[in-house]
Symmetry: C2
Subunit: 204 residues, 2 copies
Amino acid sequence: MKTRDRILECSLMLFNQKGEPNVSTLEIANEMGISPGNLYYHFHGKEPLVLGLFERFQNELAPLLSPPEDVQLEIEDCWLFLHLIAERLAHYRFLFQDLSNLTGRLPKLERGIRLWLNTLKQALAQLLAQLHVQQQLRSDTQELGQLVEQITLTLLFSLDYQRVLGQHGEPRLVVYQVMLLLAPHLQEDARCAAVLLAERYLHD
Amino acid sequence: MKTRDRILECSLMLFNQKGEPNVSTLEIANEMGISPGNLYYHFHGKEPLVLGLFERFQNELAPLLSPPEDVQLEIEDCWLFLHLIAERLAHYRFLFQDLSNLTGRLPKLERGIRLWLNTLKQALAQLLAQLHVQQQLRSDTQELGQLVEQITLTLLFSLDYQRVLGQHGEPRLVVYQVMLLLAPHLQEDARCAAVLLAERYLHD
DNA sequence: GTCTATATTAAGATAGAC
DNA sequence: GTCTATCTTAATATAGAC
C-alpha cells in the first residue's frame, strides 16, 4: 500500500479513536513510524487530510445514494438502506463527532457536507415517496418533509448521543432508532413488520 | 457586576459565537479589556470556565426539571416546557456544539452532563406518562421510552444540525421539530391541537 | 520519498510589581 | 485585584541532506 493511503488509514483510525482536534500530525507520523517531515510531504497539515478522508467517505457512499429505483419496495429494503448508511457513518464517525467544529474551521468541508446532506435527503425522500405510493406510508407531504429532516438528524448525531451517554457508539442502535422513527407513519401491517424487524435486528 | 461574573458572561458570548475550541483565554481577556494575568487569577484556564458556565446552566434549568405535577396537563403545557428548555439550551449552545469534544477532554463535565441528561429524561418521561394517563397519548411503554430518547437527542443536537445546514440556529425550530415528533403518538384531537400549535408558533 | 533538524507561532501558565 | 513581562510547551511549517 502506498504511503499516502497508509497515512489516510492511520489518520482515520486515530481521529475516530480520539477525535480530530486531539490528534496532531506529529502523533500520526509517530504512530505510523514515519517522520513528521515525510507526512508533511504528502499532506500539508490536517486540513487536506480531513478533506481527503471526506472525499473517500463520499466515494464509498455515492453508489448507495443514487439507488436503482426498485419496482417493489419492501420495508426490508428500507432497513438495508439505513443499515448501510449508518455503517459508513460509523466508519467515518470523527467527521460527525466534531461536525460544527470542523465545518467552522474548514469552509471546503462545510460546502461538501451541505451538498452531501442534500443528496442524502433526496435519497430518503425518494424512499419515503415510494413507500407512500405503495400505500405503506400515510402522512402528508409536509409531514414527510419533516420526517426526512428528523431521520437525517438522527443518522448524523445518534452515534454521538450514544457516546455522550457512555455507550459504545453502535450503528445497530442508530438503525433501530430510525426504524422506530418511521414506524408511527406506517400503515398497520407495515408498521408491525418494521417494529419486528427492528427488534429482531437489535437483539441479533 | 463582579469581574468573575463579567468573565463568565463574556466567555459565554465568545464560546457561543466561535465555538469553545476556537476561543483562547487571551482572546477573552482582550475582549473584556483586562490582562491575561487577571483572567488567570479568577479562572485557571478554560476548564474551570467551562465548568462554571455548565453550573450556571444547570442552576437556571433546575426549577424546570422538577416541575409541580399538574393535575390537568394540556398539550400547551408540553409546548411551554419544551420552549423553555430549548431556549436555555440555545443560550448555552456552545456546550452542545462541541459536546463529544468537551466531554472527552473534561471528565467532570462528562459526569455532570450524564446526570443532567438523566434528570431531563425523567422529566420528559413524567410528562409523557401524564399525557398517557389522560388518554391523550397512545403507544406502549417501550415505544414511549424510545420517544423520550428521540426527543432528548433532538433537543441536544437540532440547533447544531440547523447550523450545519447554514441556518441560524433557531430554538423555535427545535420546538417545532419536537412537537412533530410527538404528534404521531397523540390521539386524534390532541394531535391536531399539537400540529396547529406547532405551525402557528413556527410562523409567529 | 524519506529523514533530521530547526523555525514559527500561539496558547497556557506564572512571578513579581503596583 | 490587577497589571506587565516572561516562561513553557506543543503544534505546525519548512529547509536541506540522503
